[in-house]
Amino acid sequence: MANLVEIRDLKVEAKTDSGRRIEIIKGIDLDIAPGEIVALIGESGSGKTTIALTIMGYARPGCRISGGSVTVAGKDMVALSERQRANVRGLEVSYVPQSAAAAFNPSKRIIDQVIEVTRIHQLMPPAEAREKAVSLFRALSLPDPDGIGNRYPHQVSGGQLQRLAAAMALISDPKLVIFDEPTTALDVTTQIEVLRAFKAVMKKSGIAGVYVSHDLAVVAQIADRIVVLRGGEVQEVAGTNEILADAKHPYTRELLSAFEPKPRGESIVAALERKPLLQVNGLIAGYGPVQPDGLPLVKAVQEASLSLERGRNLGIIGESGCGKSTLARSIAGILPASAGQLTLDGRELAPSARQRSREQLRELQIVFQHADTSLNPAKSIEEILGRPLKFYHGMKGKARDTRIDELMDMVRLPKALRSRTPAELSGGQKQRVNFARALAAEPKLIVCDEITSALDTVVAAAVIDLLKEMQRELSLSYIFISHDLSVVEAICDEIVVMYNGRKVEEITPAISKVPQHPYSKLLFSSVPKLDPSWLDRLERDPELVKTYVQG
């Protein structure tokens, strides 16, 4: 059987600031058979998206295909003119982007964007295209298939947009669809619906696919074959079952090991006297104009009460919109709570950070999810770490230099990075700097808001290890906010499940790992497993899904 796609010795170059060209894809060979779904897996920077895009003859600005050939249904995309490539794009090969929210034009109606492919390639009259789009919406289990197209992108949810993006890719009956991390931005409960819809449509129409992801468990559910990439080179290629059961390459094994549950290990502070560190009572916070009752119009957190003892960690999980980040911001005083009390180490905290004393601010640090936006890109690592040292501890000159070195040591960053700016660091390194900055304050409590969500699995695991280590050495406490159950389980003594602004359940894994509340059950069961048959075997109560999944 002839292959649909044959990639031979593909090389892609990128241009650096200094105008130097460097090779980021270093000679790749890859075949895709008709109807076959191949997953490209690797961490960020491995070149997986770059390779996928070359199948459409596309390289992002600043990049250039510098060698090799990419043959799609007999045509070498590298050799074609831009106009000829445009004829292939959307028609024979189509693309489902990582973030449909960003990839849909905000100022145009969805239906127009979905059928635009048929207009560009003059495939069918608009009316017919609309009908086809509606049938695809139906096949992808979108609600209100007849009406959803007339909305604007901002009027539908993320999970729906992702499926609409798939409909957009499928409307031209392509031979191959490229999925670029299509579910990464989704909540776990939503992800299942989307994955199921994709899988069903692909199998039914026998379309080949390239599935780009960093998440082995997700890939396992959908791919026939897995290509493991690292640094622009193929590490291992094998069938899905083979990879999961018998990975040959050490890097693949490292990826797999990140999924193994790790023992939490008994906290050394546990033996110490248990004293409440942070207490939250009846906290209400939200946005919008203040109503006559003194509360905001939109209450993102409603009457949350928590308690955390010194040396222990509290996990808060929930899906997007559940109020977990708002809760974190209220605790940190960024978004002053409208009602309720906060007590840190026996002293009451003012709702707003502005009213808290410098000492109180120092004791409670917050670390944000996106290291990219939490580190000032214009400053060197040295300056970023040096500021809290000066600000809280008045450290100067030599003492500060020494302390910066110590901090970098603690978070395992090479000293050579001191004068670099954040843009020159990898994602994991940035998150370590982000964390080190909080450590520099010598706090009692660190609120970690989704700090591993933007990281690759392997890197995230390493950061979690670091957190644990720091806790042992510095007797810290963490409030760990995440949507990722496995991460929370790995580090927390207590887990609070939030839904729709309210705390629905509090679980102590050491005592019982089984959730009681129906939402918690649904949430826990939605986390993908490495087992390829997990998705097909998973059964969910439709009523429960209807109640709790916005999807």
Binding site: P97, A103, H154
Partner: protein, 316 residues
């Protein structure tokens, strides 16, 4: 949603009104600072103390300045711009015809300059980095760098004195045919198009380039859309807000900033009127002109804001 938009628009209009109030106060205090008053200026060399005192009394200039201002502001609220100190004519009458002239000139320039700027700005963005783009960029900087009176004088010398194609002066009246309108407005329109376009081209180009670098434009290209389609259909609609803003800022210049063009082409517009007002210390006239400029500016800016709001389905 509709209420939300209405709220946004009301908010814009409210802040515009606040700005107007600030301007009227600022203009009042600035003009109060001017040395000399209408009586002395009017008498010029003939300003003997008795003559000045007599004229001041006759013109009611001996009342406290703030009192006069308050009366003027009160009149303004009732739509009365007051009476010129200098020739006792209602300010509205002085401004009337000239305001129409100014708006007409501004309108014609807009008709030429905006499509030209949009075309050049958008195409330059579409072919970013090409020779065409570089030429447009360098030319716009070049045009920005030439003083307005230099452009105007060169145009007069070329088209009126040597080629004798166009009249050197622009009178808004005694126009009988469309051809005449074209001839009469040609020179100021050419000059002002040069003056206001450069900035619009730059801003349009920048705004479009900003939206070209978005995932949805990439997505359009990956659907097989041509560069042209990707820019015109996908990038441009999302750049409407910033472009409208840039256009509004440039066009606001046409309301009160065209004093040089009005002088050189002897075009009876409102900017020259205010210069006259300043030199004769005709406070009601100065204040009324300033208010008109301010209204013009705010109308444009507010209009651009509203366009941006309406162009954005997220707030619409």
């Amino acid at each position: 949603m509709r209420n939300y938009v209405l709220g946004l628009i009301t908010n814009r209009l409210g802040s515009a009104a606040l700005t107007l109030l600030i301007v009227s106060f600022a203009v009042f205090f600035a003009t109060a600072m001017l040395p000399g008053d209408t009586a002395t200026i009017l008498l010029g060399q003939a300003a003997t103390p008795e003559a000045v005192a007599g004229l001041r009394a006759a013109m009611h200039l001996d009342e406290p300045a703030f009192f006069r201002f308050a009366r003027w502001l009160f009149g303004l609220l009732q739509g009365d711009l007051g009476t010129s100190y200098v020739n006792n004519v209602p300010v509205a009458e002085l401004i009337g015809a000239r305001f129409v002239n100014t708006m007409r000139l501004a309108g014609i320039v807009t008709l030429f300059a905006v499509p030209l700027s949009l075309t050049l700005g958008i195409t330059a963005a579409m072919f970013r980095g090409s020779v065409y783009d570089r030429i447009v960029t360098v030319l716009t900087i070049g045009v920005i760098s030439v003083p307005e009176f230099m452009i105007a004088t060169s145009a007069v010398l070329l088209f009126s004195v040597y080629l004798k194609w166009l009249p050197a002066l622009s009178f808004a009246s005694d126009v009988t045919s469309f051809w005449q309108v074209l001839k009469i407005y040609a020179m100021p329109v050419i000059t002002l198009t040069f003056v206001v376009s450069a900035q619009m081209i730059r801003m349009t180009r920048a705004a479009v380039i900003d939206t070209i670098n978005t995932p949805y434009v990439e997505a359009a290209i990956l659907k097989g859309a041509s560069r042209r389609r990707a820019v015109l259909v996908h990038a441009l609609p999302n750049a409407v807000g910033p472009i409208a803003n840039a256009i509004a800022l440039s066009l606001s210049y046409l309301v009160g900033g065209v004093i040089i063009v009005e002088t050189i082409f002897n075009y009876p517009g409102i900017a020259k009127l205010m210069v006259d007002g300043v030199s004769t210390r005709d406070l009601p006239l100065i204040q009324s002109c300033a208010i008109i400029f301010c209204i013009g500016y705010l109308a444009l800016i507010t209009f651009a804001d509203i366009v941006a709001i309406l162009a954005n389905p997220r707030v619409r």
